[in-house]
């Protein structure tokens, strides 16, 4: 290979350690010394130096973003046990030992394709399957919220369009973590955008992309916390519907490499590597791509048409790493030759390596048998979709790139995909003691404020408050399959636990999508944060009538820099909770994602996010007409509390009001929870439940308030009628009302179903603690029988709605 004005040869064979690292840094490769040395050895063996194209290809393919080197690497883990002693162990491939292991051990027949394609695929109806994927797009959204979030949703939609031989996107879900919207301007660095500006930009980006694609956004959550000021989190997810016969690809040598959709430009150069390093004020906005949803819509429409005519054998999207990753993945087992000068460009002047790794949006790569080329081109041309043959899959087991007839890269597929050296990293975990509320501090709040005032204060917290301002900007009805909507109740403004949709209008089968997230618990213990998130996602879907026996999970790890032992230690804890919970609930993980290095470097300090685990859940429902909602329906109906209440205020909204974290993080008794969820699923299926809402942030008080104002009816609760798993000395009404213990529900039952319901719930922790009132007040009678909280529901609702009514 010779140097030209388009291609440089980079001398790495003669470099020492410093020289190698300097090359990695200068070219934004995000490769560490061991990786650079491995590359050096490879080229020393070949007797030549790499071209810039080769080095860039390796950097993209080996990026943390693409390879998950940390979670699949070797981890030397030590942890402190309860008695203070330290234990050490070596974990070889954390993901395989936890998340993926649970799925393998459960070995459920309805998991059709897991952890190998762009999304997880589960069985749905006789002919169809569902694909589900949730991705993050954090760093782009921090720099350019509108473009970053838009391309985040655009990217995950392409994952679905590129799973197997392609699925039709049918639902989007979006979860965000932002800094508090009322953060004072002068308290933050002028090198970042204000949290409210980021929030508005992200919402607009998701709105414009999702709405234009015609995909309903039916589910989501938003968390606000100061730790997200410098590094917001943006999770975008998509569910797809596909015929079962199209769930796998098989690329053969001789198939043409067909690039379909948008043109290639300089936007999004180094996205994969840039997402793998921390942000600072120098980070360039050019790493963020520009989206065009109409192009993606045209690509989706035509691609699915070609799929149904069996015109191609493989498809994948150009995501992180662009053509490099897409062609690399499709050609992994055979080989590929690509002529970079044939790729349609947005403008002239791009260098070969830029064409190869650009992350310009709306591009798909197909493997097309030559004999089908004319017919497939006809389909794309008929709807003005650009498609260009840029190469061919080969049997050489090599990746060969040419530019104007000159070879600019030749890499062994084996080295490209499996050559990356294993990381060995250290991880450590120990329990930290957090400050507990002192009697005086608590009484300062509780003494001056009635329980009603505390409730209102919690309802007005941005994390708890109504997200109607956001939800209404998303089209949640398009495609005509919306059954349980994100907003529900007497005037369509109560907070649904989960959404239900039927993607095939000729069938009553449908699916639920829900999520669970509460990073505040992770401040105490990432294990219980994760267990809680899984429990919450499952509670949410059980609430609307989801089937716990047919539920699959997705994980999304968002952490700081894994080079820090304690960060990685938290990840180990979280991954182990994934395994334990998935096994116990029999809810397999089918796909997942990790986003590490969520840190911002400010004046020499690294500001890390609060470690966050998002769990997304999907459940198949055979008849959506049996679903229910969370708004109370009729005065005189009975209110039951299901599940055990402990004094678990650690990480709660209540302690947050006191400015504290506490230590009593909500735990989960998996066996009990699974049994309760199963019984409740049955009771709902039998039509015995009028409404059902899960207890999460703000506990019993918030759940009761939400059910009441959503149903525009009052509710009365008698704490003396419940049984509380709290030691007598600590048994107080504040703990009962605001504890955030997991696996709990408030359920409304018509008196005529009392017997049948109680029979269905036999053996579970059930307490009849109240009833629906006509008078539109929420009343709580304390342990002594006296009214301790009385608020009119209109006032509660207004408080809950006001905060984010932007």
């Amino acid at each position: 290979m010779t140097e030209t004005d388009k291609v440089s040869i980079i001398n790495i064979r003669d470099q020492g350690d410093d020289g190698l690292l300097a090359i990695s840094r200068k070219n934004l490769l995000a490769l560490n010394l061991t990786e650079m040395k491995t590359i050096q050895d490879y080229f020393r063996d070949l007797g030549r130096d790499p071209t810039d194209v080769e080095l860039e290809t390796l950097a993209q393919t080996w990026s943390e973003h693409c390879k998950h080197k940390t979670l699949r690497g070797i981890i030397e883990y030590r942890s402190q046990t309860a008695d203070g002693s330290w234990q050490s162990e070596t974990i070889d491939n954390l993901l395989k030992q936890t998340v993926m292991k649970a799925t393998a051990e459960l070995n459920l027949p309805w998991c059709l394709s897991v952890f190998k394609d762009n999304a997880g695929v589960i069985d749905f109806t006789k002919d169809n399957a569902l694909a589900f994927k949730v991705e993050t797009h954090n760093h782009p959204s921090a720099l350019e919220p509108y473009g970053g979030a838009g391309t985040g949703i655009g990217g995950v939609i392409r994952d679905i369009v590129g799973v197997g031989l392609g699925a039709k996107p049918v639902v989007n879900t979006d979860v965000f973590c932002f800094g508090p919207p009322d953060t004072p301007f002068d308290s933050i660095s002028d090198s970042i955008l204000h949290p409210k500006r980021i929030a508005k930009g992200v919402v607009a980006g998701v709105r414009d992309y999702g709405n234009r694609m015609g995909i309903p956004t039916t589910n989501g959550a938003v968390i606000f916390d100061p730790s997200f000021i410098y590094n917001p989190l943006v999770f975008c997810g998509t569910v797809g519907l596909m015929p079962k016969k199209y769930i796998s690809k098989e690329v053969l040598p001789g198939d043409l490499v067909l690039a379909v959709g948008g043109r290639t430009g300089r936007d999004g150069i180094h996205g994969a590597t840039f997402s793998s390093i921390e942000l600072d004020k120098e980070t360039e906005v050019s790493a963020v791509q520009i989206g065009n949803p109409i192009v993606e819509k045209k690509v989706t429409d035509t691609l699915l048409k070609a799929r149904d005519l069996d015109l191609y054998r493989g498809v994948t999207d150009c995501g992180a790493g662009g053509f490099s990753s897409a062609v690399g993945e499709l050609g992994e087992s055979c080989g590929a030759r690509v002529y970079l000068d044939r790729a349609p460009l947005k403008y002239q002047g791009m260098l070969p390596w830029e064409i190869w790794i650009s992350e310009s949006q709306e591009r798909m790569v197909l493997a097309v048998p030559p004999e089908n080329l004319d017919r497939i081109m006809e389909i794309f041309t008929a709807e003005n979709v650009e498609a260009t043959v840029i190469g061919q899959f080969t049997a050489t087991k090599k990746l060969e790139l040419l530019y104007n007839e000159e070879t600019v890269a030749t890499l062994d597929m084996d080295f490209l995909h499996d050559g990356v050296p294993r990381y060995v990293r250290k991880a450590m975990w120990q329990l930290h003691k957090h400050e507990e509320p002192s009697a005086s501090r608590e009484s300062r709040v509780a003494g001056q404020k009635s329980l009603g005032k505390i409730l209102k204060q919690i309802l007005s917290q941005p994390t708890v408050a109504s997200k109607e301002w956001i939800i209404r900007q998303y089209d949640h009805e398009v495609q005509g399959g919306s059954i349980i909507k994100p907003l529900t109740g007497a005037v369509n403004d109560g907070p649904s636990d989960a959404s239900v949709c039927r993607p095939d209008l000729s069938s009553w089968s449908g699916f639920v999508v829900s999520n669970g997230i509460n990073p505040r618990y992770g401040l105490i213990d990432p294990y219980w944060m994760t267990a809680s998130a899984i429990d919450e996602a499952l509670r949410n879907l059980v609430c609307v009538g989801g089937d716990i026996e047919r539920t699959a999970l997705l994980d999304n790890f968002c952490w700081g820099n894994p080079d820090k032992e304690e960060q990685l230690g938290g990840i180990v804890r979280a991954a182990r909770a994934c395994y334990d919970a998935a096994k116990a609930y029999k809810t397999p993980f089918i796909s997942g994602k990790d986003s590490l290095n969520n840190e911002y470097s400010l004046e020499g300090r690294s500001l890390s996010i609060m470690a966050t685990m998002l769990i997304s859940a999907i459940s198949v429902i055979s008849d959506v007409r049996k679903c229910i909602t969370m708004d109370i329906k009729k005065s005189g109906n009975l209110i039951y509390l299901l599940g055990d209440t402990y004094e678990e205020l650690g990480g709660s909204q209540y302690l947050a009001l006191l400015g504290l974290t506490g230590n009593g993080v909500p735990r989960v008794n998996f066996a009990k929870a699974k049994s309760l969820f199963t019984s409740l699923t049955k009771a709902i299926g039998q039509g015995l439940v009028a409404s059902c809402h899960d207890l999460s942030e703000g506990g019993l008080a918030v759940a009761a308030a939400e059910m009441a104002f959503a149903g525009n009816l009052g509710m009365e609760i008698q704490l003396a009628d419940g049984s509380w798993q709290i030691a007598d000395k600590d048994k107080n009404e504040t703990a009962i009302l605001f504890s955030e213990s997991n696996s709990r529900f408030l359920v409304e039952v018509d008196p005529k179903n009392k017997k049948a319901f109680e029979k269905a719930m036999k053996g579970q922790s059930v307490a009849l603690i109240g009833k629906v009132r006509k008078d539109k007040t929420l009343q709580v009678k304390g342990l002594g029988g006296k009214v301790i909280l009385k608020e009119n529901i209109a006032g509660l609702k207004e408080t809950w709605q006001k905060t984010l009514r932007w």
Partner: protein
């Protein structure tokens, strides 16, 4: 008897074509989704259909203005065919983006077969943002629209748009619309009374949500009848007693029935 053939027009950015197709199928029509390129290539094809539907979406990304590019394509590429289709009395419906297209192509209000100058527009909501919500609609008693014939009840349908504010060019146009019985649907509150935001979700003049041409066969509306075909689409089906049929279905049935009679 043969089912009336329904042409569901698609182009880049159309995204409600599948559910519109489903609606016509439920209504016993014979729908087919057709890309505009196909029609432009074979102009005579349009006349072989009995009903024309322009579904919702963001045609061409709503660049320039909502519906504008597709409207111009209809006007300048297929003007003659569309005019013939409408003037021979065949049912035409434009939903949401399709309504914007019909207005911007001059097919609505349609005082002449294709109005030379636009007589009305649909522009940015007063709230200045895209909004999705369920609203109530009153069917005006003296309208002559074939699509809403016989519908007396208050309809519950969803809207989802950023540019749905109906504004007539001048007072004279509004008067004409009213006098001709061209005002078909108006936003109301839950009791059927006219009300401000959010009952009128976009600030439309006189709460106008849908209009027809003077003959009553061309109908445009911002709300989405194809999204309320069964009661399980209704936002409160878990708490209210409702009939099995969704409020939007009758609109499609009316057109199919009309075409059947017309064919006899």
């Amino acid at each position: 008897m043969l089912k009336p053939k329904v042409l569901i027009l698609r182009t880049a950015g159309t995204n409600c074509d599948m559910e519109t197709e489903h609606a016509f199928r439920l209504a016993s029509g014979d729908p087919r989704r057709v890309h505009i390129n196909e029609l432009v290539a074979k102009r005579e094809v349009m006349a072989s259909y009995d009903i024309l539907a322009i579904p919702g979406g963001f045609s061409y990304g709503d660049d320039i203005a909502s519906g504008k590019v597709l409207a111009n394509e209809l006007r300048y590429e297929l003007g003659e065919q569309v005019r013939d289709f409408a003037s021979c009395g065949k049912p035409v419906i434009g939903i949401c983006n399709g309504f914007q297209v019909l207005v911007k192509a001059g097919l609505l209000p349609g005082f002449t077969p294709i109005d030379e100058e636009l007589q009305a527009t649909l522009t940015f909501n007063d709230s200045a943002k895209f909004e999705a919500r369920w609203i109530y609609l009153k069917v005006s008693t003296k309208n002559k629209c074939l699509w809403t014939k016989g519908i007396k009840k208050l309809l519950t349908l969803p809207v989802a748009h950023g540019e749905g504010k109906f504004i007539p060019r001048e007072k004279k146009v509004l008067d004409l619309l009213k006098n001709n019985g061209q005002v078909v649907l108006q936003y109301t509150d839950a009791k059927g009374k006219s009300a401000g935001y959010p009952a009128n979700p976009n600030g439309s003049v006189e709460s106008i949500a849908g209009i027809c041409n003077p003959q009553g066969n061309v109908f445009g509306l911002m709300p989405h009848p194809e999204r309320h075909l069964t009661k399980y689409n209704h936002p409160r089906w878990t708490r209210e007693k409702l009939g099995e049929k969704g409020d939007g279905l009758q609109i499609f049935i009316n057109a199919v029935e009309y075409s059947k009679k017309k064919k006899l």
